[in-house]
Symmetry: C2
Subunit: 272 residues, 2 copies
């Protein structure tokens, strides 16, 4: 996507309400990443799994609040999340889903109504897209949004705290920033613990087991300029690594970067 079409997309989605973006997604008109969409509203990572594993997964989230800050937990068998939006149907309102069976990724789809089950529990986990508008408002540029790309995400060698069968390494998102912008970004994102809060690392990628920033494990690569450092935030794709390891018979997540856009203004969750 060149800068011109990126700007077009940015203009339309950026200022659209969450309800409008969800309707576009639900009606099959939008199945891409949601970076920059409905600027200023909470976006959410998705995990849907059987009730039998729900306590262990909720405990995994409690033990790993940086990658897994919980925005909402659905009722067993219920695809709504009323605290995040009146009309949300989690089976249709995410642009792309990943379906896991017996610990393997088996499918990527845009609708999960046909595979929904009465024993499924939905977890909505905070997402760093939620505070990117706050960075821009304070003069901190966000390159992947400027370019109309998905954010760069990487698997690290930093272990999460296990719970039941859930365990695995942390996934991070990365934004290249000048040091002065990085300092401001640390201050701003500290205010948003429900969207991963402050970064977990900056500088040397190999210190957290990332060998090549040009080859993200999820999302798109972006250029890092000479006067910039990579800054890393815990990422809500982390559960997808834990799920692979847990070998669940069935599980659904979002496709990394293709988030649930909620009706909750991000600032409403800000600490101080």
């Amino acid at each position: 996507m060149d800068r011109h079409s990126a700007a077009d997309r940015s203009e339309s989605l950026h200022s659209s309400s969450p309800a409008v973006v969800r309707r576009l997604i639900r009606d099959g008109h939008f199945a891409e990443n949601t970076a920059g969409a409905s600027a200023g509203f909470l976006q959410a990572n998705l995990v849907v799994l059987p009730y039998q594993s729900a306590f262990d997964f909720l405990t995994f989230c409690q033990r790993n609040p940086k990658p897994c800050p919980l925005l909402a937990v659905g009722k067993r068998g219920d695809p709504s999340l009323p605290t995040l939006g009146d009309d949300i149907d989690i089976r249709t309102d995410v642009p792309r889903y990943r379906v896991f069976r017996d610990g393997n990724l088996v499918d990527e789809v845009s609708d999960i109504r046909d595979i929904w089950r009465d024993d499924l529990v939905t977890f909505a986990i905070g997402c760093s897209f939620s505070w990117e508008e706050a960075l821009v408002d304070e003069g901190v540029p966000v390159r992947h949004v400027e370019l109309g790309r998905n954010v760069s995400m990487y698997r690290t060698n930093v272990a999460t705290e296990p719970a039941g069968a859930f365990a695995g390494d942390l996934v991070v998102s990365m934004r290249p920033l000048r040091p002065d912008h990085a300092i401001r970004a640390i201050q701003i994102t500290s205010r948003f613990p429900l969207a991963h809060g402050a970064p977990v690392h900056f500088g040397d990628p190999e210190a957290i087991g990332i060998t090549d920033l040009a080859k993200p494990d999820y999302g798109d690569a972006v250029e890092i300029l000479d006067d910039e450092v990579p800054v890393f935030w815990a990422c809500g794709v982390t559960p997808q690594v834990a799920i692979l390891g847990a070998g669940l018979d069935f599980c659904v997540t979002h496709m990394p970067g293709c988030m649930l856009v909620t009706d909750v203004p991000s600032v409403r969750t800000a600490i101080i």
Copy 2:
């Protein structure tokens, strides 16, 4: 307790390490409230209940993060909480316990080893005692600690967000403060979301359903001076109201004010 003995107690417990305080409790030498003990360390409210209700209770905590910020969730049947202290045995390390059966409070004891079960799950919930030292350090006096008393706690008419069978009104703790101190206390406690964070109300007690500040539902009363306002924080006794309503066959909590003292320095959990 007069001011002299309060000062004595304050001196000994205030500067004792959490491990020493837990040993005193475990050995039966201390069975009172822990206000002011091991200043600067996280203290925790306790809920112990059967695994069958654990997912619903964990969801209740997720939906009510102000009264129920989770510090740790134990493994099924396991009375240790290693992330809060190497030697913690939750069956002996709390000064006083309350035992609930069939939705009624039936006993208050100082040890629960004889009623422990293999299906029990432990929840440690943050406590406002954790930041009282931070207030004192910044020149904000805390009257109940000065007087060697338990904090004043009240049931309100503010409903929590239900989860499963868990529902009920919010419980708050109250500290009388001058407005300038209240403003500073709002700033300071905002840094500690795992210890209830910023207050939920100040001023008129009737606005949240409290009719007589001189008669707290839990803990001790303290005087409110003419130039002071009552300031109210969400309290980790809230689950005890929810538990009464849920009618669990079995459940154990701490006695309000008689907390688990952990090895975690409070500042280590501070946001910004």
